[in-house]
Amino acid sequence: MQRKHNDFSKAIKKHVNENYLKDDDRRSFLNNFSDWPSPTNEKWRLSRLGKLARKSFIPYVSSSKKIKETSATNEDFFSLVFINGIFCKESSDKLPKEIEMSFLSAKDLISNLRDVNNRSVLNHPTLNITGSCFQDFIKLKIKANCSIAKPIELLQTGNCPHNSIHPLILIEVEKNSKIKILEKFKTNVALNAPLQILKLEKNSKIEFIKFHNDDSETTNLSLLISFLKEDATCNIFNLINGGAFTRSETHSYLKGKNSSMNLNCVYLSTDSQHHDVTSSIYHDFPNCNSSQKVRGVLNKNSTGVFQGKIRVEKKAQKTNAQQMSRALILSDKALSNSKPELEIYADDVVCSHGATVGELDEEQIFYFLSRGIDKQKARFMMIEAFLSEIIEESVDKVFLDEVLNETEIAFKKILEN
């Protein structure tokens, strides 16, 4: 018998009616959300939302009262600050002229998602609740033929433990342009439901690092949708260590030949945290590459999930798709699940996938001990090695120190007893 759900669909209906009465486009998203996905839904079976469903919260609405602002201080980045999903101009840096920023509507969201027909995306709770309840929908356009060396930093902060927040961003990289982005989720909210769309035009490139480090009570349901045209490259690296429940879901559409999607991830979990990496890559054109590599370290009662889907259409010959998930379990109560899903309709493809779950190897630990290095340090060095391998392979030089540093802080924390 399921315990009673709080009726979130009612709450958002009321919210939309009160705030955006005339907006039929928002309402079209609203109508797609009746309740949180149930555990019988295959996409959500391993990551159940019961706890969230029983929580009582409503979407955040900006009040006139001034919130204490975090201001951007890092000289190495163009920082854009968001508070509770709302863009905070005063705290943000001015962008260079090659990057155009604008605000979009729910109608624009619909038109940008025209090509999406997967039910798992169209029925995704984040798409529908954020599509109907967002406050700011920011678009960043990187103009054609620009290579922007200084990275953008997106600081997603928030503090409203009884609300959901709905950051919504579209990043469009025009042809032959390059951009590097570091995004940090650090919120203390009931639900953080960021929706992000990346559009990569011909021969463009994005390096995108995302830190999911929300407060220990927060649920984070990130949804990222990317579209790649010919010769485009999208490198995403996710670090997930925060939140009570964090699911980082990505859908990538390879819509032009020679495009390349690399979606690698590290998650670090402890206590009763649940971390989920779900990604789908749709190979629609020939000669494209994709990689989904995930490494997790789990301690105490934590759980980890990797669901990786690769779909290769018939005309997507010479596809090269790799998928690998490895989890390191530090406690006998921690659990890691991995669910690969391969749908391959082309014949000339190279696809590999694999998953391992294991403990730290006692023989390896003994080798450290025999050289005088104590057990704690040995464990530390082995986990560091396990993680740095994938980080060094995935992360652009400009972000490497920051990512290694953030990872080290996070895994020191999960090693604490």
Binding site: E362, E363, Q364, F366, L369, R371, G372, M382, A385, E389
Partner: protein, 250 residues
Amino acid sequence: MSILNIKNIHLSIEDKSILKGVSLNVNPGEVHAIMGPNGSGKSTLSYILSGKEGYELSSGNIYFDNKDLLELSANERSNQGLFLAFQYPVELPGVSSMNFLREAVNVRRKFLGKKELNHLEFVKEARRLASSMFIKDEMLKRSVNVGFSGGEKKRFEILQMMLLEPKLAILDETDSGLDVDALKIVSNGVNNYKGKDNAVIVITHYQRLLDYIVPDYVHILADGVIKKSGGPELAKIIEKNGYAGIVDAA
């Protein structure tokens, strides 16, 4: 005053009795060779000495440098100057050899009350000793033992011994898998390290090694005990006749 004194040790693994009363005394400046058929317990003895989990004695005592060895954890034994060159060195993917060596050396230095070496000082020292073992700089950048050839792994073990300057080095079949040149390199390394204050136990199957590292004593471990001890000539007899006449079943 001995460096190592093993007194009548017994060990069983999963109800199988492996050592049935082994005693051995090693003094400073000595080289002992331990020989014996496959599966006679030579590596087991080395694991007992280095404190591997699962190799706890059912009876007997071991003193190392006048301390009760069994009271010390594996890493403390290394800190105190006991070193094991593994028969099968373990691969550590992602752990750079240089970092691993530096960590080990600094832990030992700290224990000895010496100043820890900074990165540069350490790299210089490591390279110097590595080149004496014909180990290329490039190898030190790689993960510990990953992709090393059999011979490279063995030379890397000896490099670790040189860096850690132990009181007692146990070399478990360090000669196996070495070509003639590598055998000379390794033996040279051991002979240079050997002095009047430290000692070496070499576990080997072949007399060949003992031409280079000349032992003071040769012991035959078989049927769970030291069946016979003697001088270097004992190794030559075994090379010629095998273990017939020494070991029950041979």
